[in-house]
Subunit: 388 residues, 2 copies
């Protein structure tokens, strides 16, 4: 398994990479993208992929329905990066802070980007309207609505607050619509419960939109989304667009929810075996938590995957072998507790691939993807960004 060639005797290009590094299987990525596009298009709604997982223009161009978007971002640094590369139809889907409005304005001006912001309070609406009046740039705004108590957003039944925000926005800004994220769906795994979460998200969106429209506000866009609810929605009547992000890559948390199969996960960390502790049943690699991220999202699921599932160099999972522990630059591979599976024979220098718990968190530890095609050759590097 060591050296330049894999077990098939074919040079897969992996032997020359410095580990740990992040592999991206382009064929699996394309299949994941096509799968979600099929799911969303059967509902007859627009699709605004969330670029927070990939943070890569190359992945974005494969995922978006046009080179200019639509797309969703989670930071203004993403907005800058993508706008500079021609993605100009953008929603920044994290509640806007007044001290970020100048930066939003600069992105809109410099790259002629239609960058919309999100808010859920009177004070934000006043700040955005005041900024719009002062700058002469009527900012497009979504009111965030909370479908499930997960995080931010106006309660869909809080008509007074919805109308109050609408009134304040009307003093200079543009109300573009309502935006929801059914974040509680990440804690589910039953398909029926997920379909109900999607329906709850849809109904909350319509309730808020109808409240605004009844008060005389235009509310052209009704935007919902999370990877689990986008997958499990039975219908999306009244919704105009869907957002989702982690579906692009998939990960073990999504597999635990039932939003993808383990075989669909298209990102993996390439690691090198650097030692053994035979009496403990441990194989030590150079991919510790810095390479995997500290995400332990599967710890609260039915199957705890440690810091990730261990696959051979070709990407095929070893039965019941996981990254059982991790230090900063050391990963400890071991057979899952309670399993009678054998630890594979992996001498020092062997390459393994590790499937991550959480694609967003793991990918954020890297500044590039090494792109592979199925089991084939790694030859292409795609940049990605991090930070704010």
């Amino acid at each position: 398994m060591t050296g330049a060639a894999n077990t098939n005797g074919i040079d897969d290009g992996l032997g020359t990479l410095q580990t740990p590094c992040l592999l991206l299987d382009r064929r699996k990525l394309a299949a994941n993208l096509a799968g979600m596009q099929t799911q969303v298009s059967r509902h007859g709604v627009a699709f605004r992929p969330h670029l927070k997982t990939a943070k890569s223009i190359d992945v974005a161009r494969m995922a978006m329905t046009s080179p200019s978007g639509p797309a969703t971002v989670s930071t203004l640094k993403e907005a800058e990066y993508f706008a500079e590369r021609g993605v100009t139809d953008l929603t920044y889907a994290v509640g806007i802070a007044p001290n970020k409005l100048d930066r939003v304005g600069e992105i809109r001006r410099r790259w002629k980007a239609d960058l919309a912001v999100v808010l859920d309070s009177l004070v934000q609406a006043e700040a955005v309207a005041a900024w719009s009046r002062a700058s002469g740039d009527r900012l497009p705004v979504f009111i965030e609505v909370d479908p499930d108590g997960h995080r931010s957003g106006v309660k869909p039944g809080n008509a007074e607050l919805l109308r109050g925000i609408g009134e304040r926005l009307a003093q200079g800004a543009t109300l573009r619509g309502v935006l929801l994220h059914a974040g509680e769906s990440y804690g589910l795994s039953d398909p029926e419960a997920l379909a109900q979460a999607a329906e709850g998200e849809r109904k909350a969106a319509l309730q808020a939109a109808e409240t605004l429209r009844a008060a005389g506000f235009e509310c052209p866009v009704v935007s919902v989304g999370s990877t689990p609810t986008a997958r499990h929605a039975r219908h999306l009547d009244g919704i105009t667009e869907v957002r989702a992000g982690v579906y692009m890559f998939g990960d073990l948390v999504q597999a635990g929810i039932g939003s993808c199969a383990v075989e669909d996960i298209c990102v993996s960390v390439l690691a090198t075996v650097i030692g053994h502790q035979p009496e403990k049943g441990w194989i030590i690699t150079d991919a510790g938590w810095m390479a995997m991220s500290r995400d332990r999202g599967t710890a609260s699921q039915a199957v705890d995957q440690g810091y990730g599932i261990v696959c051979d160099r070709l990407g095929h999972a070893y039965a019941d072998v996981i990254v059982a522990q991790a230090n900063q630059e050391h990963g400890v591979l071991a057979v899952r507790k309670g399993s009678s599976a054998a630890l594979p024979d992996l001498p020092v220098g062997s390459l393994v691939r590790i499937l991550p718990n959480h694609a967003c968190a793991t990918a954020a530890q890297y500044d590039r993807y090494h792109v592979i095609d199925g089991e084939g050759c790694a030859s292409t590097v795609w940049e990605r960004i991090n930070g704010w």
Copy 2:
């Protein structure tokens, strides 16, 4: 609390920063460095600070006993970064993989760096000796010894393996000494238990060094270290150098162990309030897990700090307010469960500082430090590196 000025009416420079960002309090850093240097020098041993936490030449120059080192690194990218900046006395303290030897050799050649590697197996020793013969560069090597079953290393009583590695290294490479890391100490908190862990680390080091010396191998360096054991060692007779890293910054995990006080922690994440869910007792900020890292190291300690302790803009902790939950770009501030403390009044736009669970993991989410002096002005930026 919003805008350019803090509550004292003084412009602290924080109002112009884009959040989330990482603050580094230079005065606290200097005190942490001086404290450890005092602890180590009372034992009369050399100090080789570990640069894996800071990954910054500016911090390194404050921490090292000379501009060229000694220092420890956890990745070859750190070795390259520091060697290029004049730090040439380096130990790469993660087990060496044969496919990394050419990169090690290039760092040694290009920057005339005395970069040593670490290993714990016959196969690695053979590979290093063979590489040394082929390249004409006698690599300096530490045999890693395992004092406490934490991770890697030869058992200190395994004389046969120690001698076998020594013999193989003698075929081209240079045995520089033994290196230990009492990683289990991170799970302790009782000072007596920590002193015992330090003594166990010391005894294991001497046992291995004496085995090698009795077999005729020179073993000039006996290197031990972890922040908890470096702090709690009662004496270090026979040890020649100590390594430690996270002590520079401190963090909530170290405070939980008793290796620092919460007030000593010199890194914090500056965040902006972006919303509220009053009926839940939540304040939402723009510092989610991407800004804090996914590290939940205090979850297994006596006091679970969530994703971090919340402080005001000046760095003073609010009583019992923690980051109770985090999504990718959202942090949820709340009063700790069971506490009757009041949630502070923090309108949208307020700045808060958050003390991290794990300085290494949190700092790795950033490419720079914004340096502050006590409560004073943030004016200096120090770069840091990430990745491999």
